[in-house]
Amino acid sequence: MTDASEPSLGALIESIVLVAHDPVPTELLAQLLERPIDEVDACCDELAEAYRSEGRGFELVHVAGGVRFQTVADHAPWVERFLLYDQRARLSGAALETLAIIAYKQPISRAQVAAIRGVDPDGVLRTLQARGYVAELGRDDGPGQAILFGTTPTFLERLGLRSLDDLPPIAEFIPGPEVVEALEDGLRITPSIDVDAPPA
C-alpha cells in the first residue's frame, strides 16, 4: 500500500492524531504535512470509512473543530468495564438549559441568562466553568461591563459536535401552535365563558 521511503498521507494523519490529546484541526494537519487541506479532509473521510467497513473498534471523527480517535459506541459496555468508572458525570437539567441558552445566545451575560431562565444561574454557571464547558469571553461595553460567557471546545466535545454550526437551528425549537395556544389559554385575561379573540 505504501512505499517505505514515502509514507502515505493517511498513515501520517493516523500517527499524528494518535498522539494528540485534543482533536487536531485538519488545517493544522495540512500545514504540517504540506498538503492541500481538501486532500487532508478527503483522506480523513477515507480513513473513517475504512475503519467502519473493516469493523474496527475505533473510529476517526470530526469533533470540536478537529479530528480524533474514539471508541465505537457499541463497545461502551466493555470500555466502561475497563475504565472502571464513569468519567463523565451526567449534566443536570439546569446545566443543560443554561448551556442551551449560552450556546445559542453567546456572548451573553449572567443577567441575560437569568432573564431567560427565570432563576439566577450563578451556581450552575460556576459548575459549568469548573467543568470547562463555559468560559468568559470578555466584558460588555455597556455601563456595568458585565462579564460575557460563551461555550468552549470542551462543550463541543461533550456533545460530540463538530462546531457550533452543527447545532440545530433554534427555529426548530420554537414551540408549536398547540403549546402557544395552551399558554395563551392558561393566561387568558377574560373568563373562559368569554370568546374574545386576542388582539392581533
Binding site: 451526567r90 442551551a100 393566561l187 385575561i189
Partner: protein, 258 residues
C-alpha cells in the same frame, strides 16, 4: 377546584408556570397564585444582587399574574379603562413571550441531553505521545496557568454527584394502581407489618395516597395482605401474608381511568 401545587421539584417561577400550564393543563384561574408569587419573590430577592432590571422585570411579571387572576375572579364590570386594558394585554403578551422563550430552551436542553448521552458512548483517545517523544516537549506545564491547575483541582476534588434520574424534561408520569401494586409487592414483604400512614407519609400528592389505598385493597382482594383497623377512621395496619411464591404477575389490575 384549586390546584394544589405539589410538583416536587421545579426551578423558579417560569418553570413552575410552564409545568402547571402545559403539563397539568390548568389555567391561571385554577392556579394557587400564592405559590407562584412566592417563587417570584424568592427569585427577585436573589436577583436584586444580580441586576436591578431583571429583578424589576420579575416584579412586573408577578404583578401581571395577580392582575390576570383578579380579572378572572371578578365579574365583568363593564366600565373598563381602555388604557389599563391595553396595558394588561401588553403585560400578558410579554409574559407569554417569556414563557415561550423559556420553553424553547427547555426543549433545546432535551436535545442536548440526547447528544451528550450519545457522545458518552464513545471514549476519546487522550493518551498523548509515548515516552519515545519525551525529549520533544520537556516542559509539559508550559502555558498552564495557575487558574487551570486550580480548576483541575476543583474538578478532581469535587465529590461526584449521586446519580439521579433526571425527570426534568419528562412530563409527570400518571400514577396508576398497577404501578402502585407493583411497588407494594416489592415493599410490603420487606416491611412485614406496616401502617397505612407510614406507607404513605412520603407521598405529597393526595391522588398518590388514594392510588396506594386502591392498590392495598387490590392486594387484599388477592389475599396477599391482611388489613386491620382497630377504630373507625383510625390507622390501618397492613400485614403481608402471601408466601415467597406469590406470583406478582398474577395481580392483574383494572386500569382506573380518571
Amino acid at each position: 377546584m384549586a390546584v394544589d401545587v405539589a410538583t416536587p421539584v421545579y426551578e423558579g417561577p417560569f418553570d413552575l408556570l410552564l409545568q402547571l400550564i402545559l403539563a397539568e393543563q390548568v389555567d391561571i384561574y385554577e392556579i394557587n397564585l400564592v405559590t407562584i408569587v412566592d417563587a417570584y419573590l424568592v427569585e427577585i430577592e436573589r436577583m436584586q444582587q444580580l441586576d436591578l432590571d431583571v429583578a424589576t422585570g420579575f416584579v412586573l411579571i408577578a404583578a401581571t399574574l395577580v392582575e390576570l387572576k383578579a380579572r378572572r375572579l371578578l365579574p365583568d364590570q363593564g366600565d373598563v379603562d381602555l388604557d389599563e386594558e391595553l396595558a394588561l394585554w401588553e403585560e400578558r403578551d410579554l409574559l407569554l413571550a417569556r414563557l415561550l422563550e423559556a420553553k424553547t430552551f427547555k426543549d433545546v436542553a432535551g436535545v442536548f441531553a440526547t447528544l451528550a448521552d450519545d457522545a458518552d458512548l464513545s471514549f476519546p483517545r487522550q493518551v498523548g505521545p509515548d515516552e519515545r517523544f519525551d525529549g520533544i516537549a520537556p516542559d509539559l506545564l508550559e502555558g498552564t496557568s495557575v487558574t487551570r491547575l486550580r480548576n483541575a483541582a476543583i474538578r478532581a476534588l469535587t465529590p461526584p454527584a449521586v446519580p439521579v434520574v433526571d425527570l426534568h424534561h419528562v412530563t409527570p408520569i400518571t400514577v396508576t394502581v398497577a404501578d402502585a401494586v407493583a411497588e407494594l409487592v416489592d415493599e410490603l414483604p420487606r416491611a412485614g407489618r406496616i401502617s397505612f400512614r407510614r406507607l404513605t407519609d412520603a407521598l405529597v400528592d393526595r391522588i398518590e395516597v388514594i392510588v396506594r389505598f386502591l392498590a392495598v385493597l387490590e392486594l387484599f382482594k388477592q389475599g396477599a395482605v391482611e388489613l386491620d383497623q382497630t377504630e373507625r377512621f383510625g390507622d390501618i395496619a397492613i400485614t403481608w401474608i402471601a408466601d415467597d411464591e406469590f406470583d406478582r404477575s398474577a395481580v392483574l389490575v383494572d386500569t382506573y381511568e380518571g
